[in-house]
């Protein structure tokens, strides 16, 4: 059991495998040979180990045992390393990439755009959206239906037989006090394997400086890739490494060997992984990044419990801390970006009036942005907790921002108030833009078009409508209707003025009583003004078909009766030459030409296609 005589065979076995002593021992590996040899060697190690505890050993014997143990441990360390290297392959990713859906985790509300009948508008909408949300938006629509990477799924990284061999070796090394060597070997081999897996998963090594310099499109794509890779890294890669450590090291010795080995393996890679997300969270804030940042935030939030699970030991605390720090920075960044957006809308400075008074690109952009916000309302609702700072911007001269009284909207969430505020800002900005039109009538048309667009967008989305609320919706409706009225008045008062009764009757004693010259002037004026209006306003645009019809009909409702009655009363008093239009002509001109955005030729009456 412990007598020196019995140790000789054991010692011999160990010495035989001293790689510093013979070429053969250096070239061959015990654990690649037959099972008997392996068992014999391990048995020998155990014997020597036991004899170390023997207190009756002479100094000479003790010295021998110490030397032998060291040789055995050195050998086992090499064997350990060799088994690991031979069996270590980077993680298998093919089966994983299919099952990773890019489906967002917090439910997104579905409807985003109301179908626009006008094709031109549709196309522009889609382009505008694409610019804001890029991958984020289109990915939502492409749903990968396979099961998604949403839970921990460990793989077996090393064949079971090797695992048990490794455990046998680790047990001996730790018992002999060679714990540190064991951890160091394990860590250095496994860490390279993890690095190899990172390469396969496309985890990049970008510095913070690199990331600041990237174009948004490129960064956008990288964030998407990172999200997918991070899910695999945490739920499969790191989880599997942890499982492997447990299989090999758990309950060996008193020093929580499995935790130590796990940290040795993954601390560097995990830090590298999170450094990317951290770099994103501290990069410059600009509004179009908002939704991708929210995607990143949500993914990280979703991963948090798994992160806590996988990195649960004390040495792993820094990783847990880092991920929560990143999360809160992302939240802060999101809040900042929303603020930036509001400022940008308020300050958007373009002065060139949109031709034809049609929908301004700013309006489209803002409404699409708002729609996306409502899609992300669950996430954003949790992050936005303070009301918009409307501030007292009106310092005397000219107001620099809209006035809005939030007391009428007390029951609405802060996020909803932000949406209302954004619309108010948009309107305010549009008002300013409308003043650049030389023609008042066009200015009103512009406002009418744009505010109507806003209303339609809100009505077209249930979430938006709910958030913004009917009260404000009514306010907006009032505004565009008022604009429509103002437009009509501005345009047609002059025209209708020609058709008034007063001033046409002479104060003579004759019964006919109509001043022919005045009448001639009237008709000439009417024709000229109507021509002008017809020609000019045919080029103007009301993109919404229904609104266009309503406006035309409303115009005709005032124009036609007035003209008809005018004609009826006075046509006999004047030669036909002065009468340019029949009632039908007017109707056609208005119904077919006005607000189409096409020029009418002067000499023919254009028929609609």
């Amino acid at each position: 059991m412990g007598s020196p005589a019995n140790d000789v065979p054991a010692e011999q076995i160990i010495l035989r495998w001293d790689s510093t002593a013979s070429e053969d021992a250096r070239v061959r590996m015990i654990f690649e040979g037959d099972r008997d040899e392996i068992d014999r060697y391990l048995h020998a190690v155990d014997q020597i180990q036991r004899s170390m505890d023997n207190t009756t050993l002479s100094e000479d014997e003790s010295k021998k045992v110490n030397n032998t143990i060291q040789i055995a441990m050195a050998r086992l360390e090499d064997e350990f390393r060799n088994i690991l290297i031979t069996n270590s392959t980077p993680i298998e990713t093919e089966s994983l990439t299919d099952s990773i859906s890019s489906n967002p985790l917090t439910p997104r509300t579905s409807s985003c755009h109301s179908p626009d009948n006008n094709e031109r508008n549709n196309k522009r909408d889609i382009e505008a959206v694409a610019r804001i949300s890029s991958a984020s938006f289109t990915e939502r629509k492409t749903y990968v239906s396979c099961r998604s990477m949403n839970s921990i799924r460990e793989q077996d990284l090393i064949p079971q037989e090797s695992v048990s061999d490794l455990r046998c070796i680790a047990k001996r090394m730790i018992t002999a006090g060679y714990f540190r060597e064991c951890v160091q070997v394990y860590g250095s081999v496994r860490k390279s394997v993890v690095d190899g897996s990172f390469k396969k998963l496309g985890v990049e090594k970008l510095s913070i400086g690199d990331i600041q310099r990237l174009e948004w499109d490129s960064l956008n794509a990288k964030i998407g890739r990172w999200i997918r890779a991070a899910k695999v890294c945490i739920r499969v890669l790191f989880a599997s490494e942890k499982k492997l450590c447990k299989q090999i090291f758990k309950d060996l010795g008193s020093a929580a060997a499995d935790d130590a080995c796990f940290m040795e393996t993954v601390k560097g890679p995990a830090t590298q992984l999170f450094n990317f997300a951290e770099a994103i969270s501290i990069s410059r804030r600009s509004p179009e990044k908002l939704f991708k940042i929210l995607d990143l935030h949500d993914s990280l939030l979703d991963l948090l419990s798994d992160i806590d699970n996988v990195f649960d030991s004390k040495p792993a605390e820094s990783i847990r801390v880092q991920s929560t720090e990143i999360l809160s920075r992302l939240a802060e960044a999101a809040r900042g970006m929303l603020s930036e957006f509001e400022n940008a809308v308020l300050r958007e400075p373009s002065r060139v009036p949109v031709p034809g008074g049609t929908i301004h690109p700013l309006t489209r952009y803002v409404m699409n942005y708002i729609s996306l916000i409502s899609d992300y309302k669950i996430t954003l609702g949790g992050l936005i907790v303070s009301n918009p700072s409307t501030g007292s911007r009106n310092s005397g001269d000219s107001p620099t921002g809209p006035e809005i009284d939030f007391s009428e909207h007390e029951e609405q969430s802060p996020l909803a108030l932000h949406l209302i505020w954004i619309i108010a800002i948009l309107q305010f900005n549009l008002e300013g833009k409308s003043k650049h039109y030389k023609d008042n009538s066009l200015a009103y048309l512009f406002i009418m078009n744009n505010v109507h667009y806003i209303v339609q967008k809100i009505k077209g989305s249930q979430e938006l409508r709910e958030m913004i609320g009917d009260h404000y919706l009514r306010t907006l409706t009032r505004i565009f209707r008022q604009a429509a009225t103002n437009h009509q008045r501005a345009t047609w008062i002059g025209v209708l003025h020609c058709l008034r009764d007063q001033g046409l009757h002479s104060t003579g004693s004759f019964s006919s009583g109509v001043s022919k010259s005045a009448l001639r002037e009237r008709f000439k004026s009417f024709n000229a003004i109507f021509d002008e209006v017809h020609r000019t306003q045919a080029l103007w645009l009301v993109p919404d078909e229904q609104l266009r019809e309503e406006l035309r009909i409303s115009i005709l409702e005032k124009l036609i009766p007035a003209y008809r009655s005018f004609l009826g009363r006075f046509r006999n008093h004047i030669s036909d030459n002065y009468i340019k239009y029949t009632v039908e002509d007017l109707e056609n001109a208005v119904l077919q030409d006005l607000f189409e955005g096409y020029a009418v030729s002067q000499h023919s009456r254009r028929r609609s296609q």
């Binding site: 110490n66 400086g209 501290i282």
Partner: protein, 404 residues
């Protein structure tokens, strides 16, 4: 934890100031005083750091209050100093200031430059954190040797064990330093001789080399160079000429200089990727009065760097230097080891082992907190940068355009 809106904090402070009816002259004088105080504090604090070293040179005692230049505890003081200066700097820059000066010369150029330097410093912090991790790894290897050689009597088994660990350690220190495998001079010789002496066995050494991926290929891309970062940070660092309107150019310059100095020192001390030419990449002009202590430190550190760069070193951190020295010496002892060890030799070795043990303990105790401090630095720089960006945005210097 309820999310809070940090966004408005500094802005509120600025606008409050702006709306106060203040006596312009009194305000201006106050500002000048603050600037002078800031300058003085910087000089004082760095003087303390400089004097740490000078006191050590005259005493042998390991007094806890004194920290040897470039030791772990000295670095803790250095980083602390930086954080104090940074707080004061922020106060000077942002409070009591009319924010519109941010959008005018010279700040309209100086601040973006400073922010750019900050981003580089953030990357350096990350590299340093990784480097410290590596140093921890080395200390664990050293600890193996310590444990082995503390056994009595020292037999061959212990020596071989220590030697294996020390060889791994020394190879790791060399590999990292010549990461791009341009082994030159002494380090190549050393590596080859380690291989030849082969107590660790050539197979082992090969394996060690292959998996000696403690190098920075795992942390940053191959093209990132700490030395180049430092160089970029210091190229446009130009001392302001007197008489500029805001009086803020000087504190910005001071703060930037300190930042570069701290980063430069960290890179020299802790293993970092690609440090060739570091010594030449940062030089403060010698005529700056406030900078005398910093220049003093710079001189000493620069000299050390020159000395060690030729021989090849893993880093100027005192503890690393001790490990390098003692480990090499112990490996030599191990090579020539014959049982039993004579008394004189045994005492010598015991002394060295004790020294190594002491260093390992210092590292065990100090590297963790140092890493946390570096992380704190990181956070502080991130926050300051965000706040300055906010202010600059508010004054419309940077116009966020709506892209459509």
């Amino acid at each position: 934890m309820p999310p809070t809106d940090h966004h408005g904090s500094f802005l509120n402070r600025i606008s409050i100031r702006r709306n106060q009816i203040t006596n312009m002259d009194v305000n201006h004088e106050q500002e000048l005083e603050e600037l002078e105080l800031f300058q003085k504090h910087v000089t004082d604090r760095f003087m303390q750091l400089l004097q740490q070293n000078q006191t050590q040179e005259t005493t042998e005692t390991r007094a806890q209050a004194q920290s040897q230049l470039l030791s772990i505890s000295w670095f803790q003081k250095l980083l602390d100093t930086y954080l104090c200066c940074e707080s004061e700097f922020k106060a000077v820059l942002i409070i009591n200031r009319d924010a519109s000066c941010f959008s005018k010369a010279p700040l309209d150029r100086l601040l973006p430059d400073h922010l750019d330097r900050t981003v580089k410093a953030l990357d350096i912090c990350n590299a340093i954190t990784h480097g410290i991790e590596l140093v921890r790894h080395w200390s664990r290897l050293a600890q193996i040797a310590v444990d082995a050689l503390e056994q009595r009597p020292i037999v061959e088994g212990h020596v071989r064990r220590a030697k294996r660990a020390l060889n791994t350690l020394l190879t790791s220190m060399m590999v990292d330093e010549k990461e791009n495998s341009q082994l030159v001079g002494k380090s190549a010789e050393r590596m080859w001789s380690i291989g030849r002496r082969g107590a660790a066995g050539p197979t082992t050494v090969n394996h060690n080399q292959k998996f000696m991926t403690r190098s920075f290929s795992t942390c940053v891309s191959k093209s990132w160079s700490a030395s180049k970062q430092i160089q970029a940070m210091s190229t446009n660092l130009v001392a302001p000429r007197g008489g500029e309107p805001t009086g803020l150019a000087l504190p910005v310059y001071i703060m930037s200089s300190i930042l570069v100095f701290v980063m430069w020192t960290l890179v020299a001390a802790v293993p970092s990727p690609e440090r060739a030419g570091l010594g030449a990449h940062f030089q403060l002009p010698r005529n700056l009065t406030w900078a005398h202590p910093v220049i003093g430190l710079q001189d000493k550190i620069g000299e050390e760097w020159k000395k060690k760069e030729k021989k090849g070193t893993a880093g100027l951190l005192v503890e690393i230097q001790v490990i390098e020295k003692v480990a090499s010496s112990l490996v030599e002892f191990a090579d020539g080891f014959e049982f039993p060890v004579g008394d004189e030799k045994a005492d010598e070795v015991a002394g060295q082992v004790a020294e190594l043990a002491d260093i390992c303990r210092k590292m065990e105790d100090g590297l963790g907190p140092l890493q946390l401090q570096v992380r704190e630095l990181f956070h502080r720089m991130v926050r300051s940068r965000a706040e300055v960006l906010d202010v600059m945005d508010q004054v419309g210097k940077i116009n966020t355009s709506v892209l459509y």
